[in-house]
Subunit: 301 residues, 2 copies
């Protein structure tokens, strides 16, 4: 990883919970260590996959402090900090930057729908002003299938123009390669860092000027993603990417977050990994069985 900016394979790291739906801090930090050892360049703590928006602000700040004081290097962390409410996003962003995280991944406010670009611009501008820290680096988080509020090209252009060096990148979880490619074509030449939010688009993104990917899939097989990242200029990258896609497709037939948790529970012989905070629910036994069979079939021996 470069000192100041993220690149490569980032995992939106899963959060483990106890049976009482409290963050299982120890199990989660052990997972972080595994992810970094297995090939993640950095971690998104508090992404969608982390069930971040099912956590309170206090849970998020306390847990990030816990993780760092238990060995997580903040320079490897891009925390999610975007909430519905401006003050919550300010508190989380300020906190993350204060802990020396090199950037934050920020959702647009997502309660109100059909909001204007002007309203979103005011939101981000006020956020930047209130954080009031030269170290702030914002990666925008575009995930319209879930947030239902999109970050338009016009908005990105305006934010980059008004806040150069502050609004520095984007996670594109549209799931739409055309959209990712357009983002790369339009903004990567100016230094904007584009990360598809889907492992399916890792190799195409690297070949056209993207910086890596931030994919839920990295929670279960970061090594193969790192291999694609290392070898993207070589012919063998094709086969690796195809295998990523086979595995990714097997997982994405199921609700992704409980599916990933079921895979970790199985591979670590640790059923506690299936705990998930409402409104999400674990996979059913039949789903779990189907997933593990299909993922096994999709994985090279």
């Amino acid at each position: 990883m470069e000192t100041e900016h993220f690149s490569g394979i980032l995992a939106p790291a899963l959060t483990a919970f106890t049976e009482q739906f409290e963050i299982d801090t120890e199990r989660t930090v052990a997972h972080f260590q595994w992810l970094l050892k297995q090939g993640c360049d950095a971690l998104v703590v508090f992404g969608t996959t982390s069930e971040a928006n099912s956590l309170s602000v206090a849970e998020r700040t306390r847990f990030l402090e816990y993780a760092i004081s238990n060995g997580l290097d903040p320079r490897n962390v891009l925390p999610g900090t975007g909430c519905c409410s401006l003050p919550d996003s300010v508190v989380l962003s300020k906190h993350a930057i204060g802990l020396e995280c090199p950037g934050v991944l920020t959702l647009p406010p997502f309660y109100y729908k059909a909001v204007s670009d002007e309203g979103l611009f005011r939101y981000f501008a006020t956020l930047i002003e209130r954080v009031g820290d030269d170290r702030l680096r914002i990666y925008l988080y575009h995930i319209p299938p879930i947030s239902q509020v999109a970050i338009s090209f016009d908005l990105i252009e305006r934010l980059i123009r008004e806040f150069p060096g502050v609004v520095v990148g984007i996670k594109d979880s549209s799931g739409d390669w055309e959209h990712t490619q357009q983002l790369i074509d339009r903004f990567a030449p100016g230094g904007f860092r584009v990360f598809p939010g889907n492992e399916m688009h890792l190799l195409p993104a690297l070949r056209t000027g993207g910086k890596g990917c931030i994919s839920a899939f990295a929670n279960i097989n970061p090594a193969i993603l790192q291999e694609v990242f290392q070898k993207w200029q070589r012919p063998e990258a094709e086969n690796l990417q195809e295998e990523v896609e086979r595995q990714g497709r097997a997982v994405r037939q199921y609700p992704v977050i409980p599916a990933l948790k079921a895979i970790l529970a199985e591979s670590r012989k640790d059923p506690g990994w299936e705990n998930i905070r409402p409104p999400l629910v674990p996979l059913s036994a039949a789903q779990r069985e189907g997933l593990l069979a299909e993922l096994g079939a999709a994985t090279r021996q």
Copy 2:
């Protein structure tokens, strides 16, 4: 109003902000007093119209305490307490009940989409368990156009069955009269209190067993809604309801929250009422002019 339950006209009360986007506590509480004086039976403090999900938990608890200590009778308040995160909803619900509010209006968790009824049931069941207060009365908040997460009939049935006397009503902001009517037909005979979230459906709801309405429109003309409520069994209710609909239609051509704020700013000669927290924005000058003209034309002289 009955001692224990809400009925009649409830306003999801607007929140005033300063130019720096902080809650203008004094202006907001003055508005609460006006609403109650003008005919509201009770107030939803922290509804969608209140920009509640643009506020932090701390802002919400502090402001509710402020309002009560400045004369707002908690028995007239149904606070909105539903957030994306279970612990936030627990804190807000517990706080409201502790302050002697007779109930809370609770959104389903709205970040994750396509969640299961089982997941939503677990969410509400855990909320009720954690609040752990016999005084808790939950009014469900169904507003799929914004939350994008619906509260199904099956879920309502299960919640009523499992938590009789706790899950006692619903605000139906589907905007779909068929849906409201089905809710009334199915659940009102058992004592479940159904409030359409739209003034357009006030009279039809009262005639079929609904309890009143909780409508944004009540912020600007609670008196006429109260008149419909008082006279719903008399023939003149028809004309009153028609006037409500004419005025409501004039307002609903514009983004509703800034439109209502523009109307208050105009009628009170207080431009500060137009302040609105991002991501929402005030109406443009042209919108404001159009709105005031159309509302004027729709209002009886």
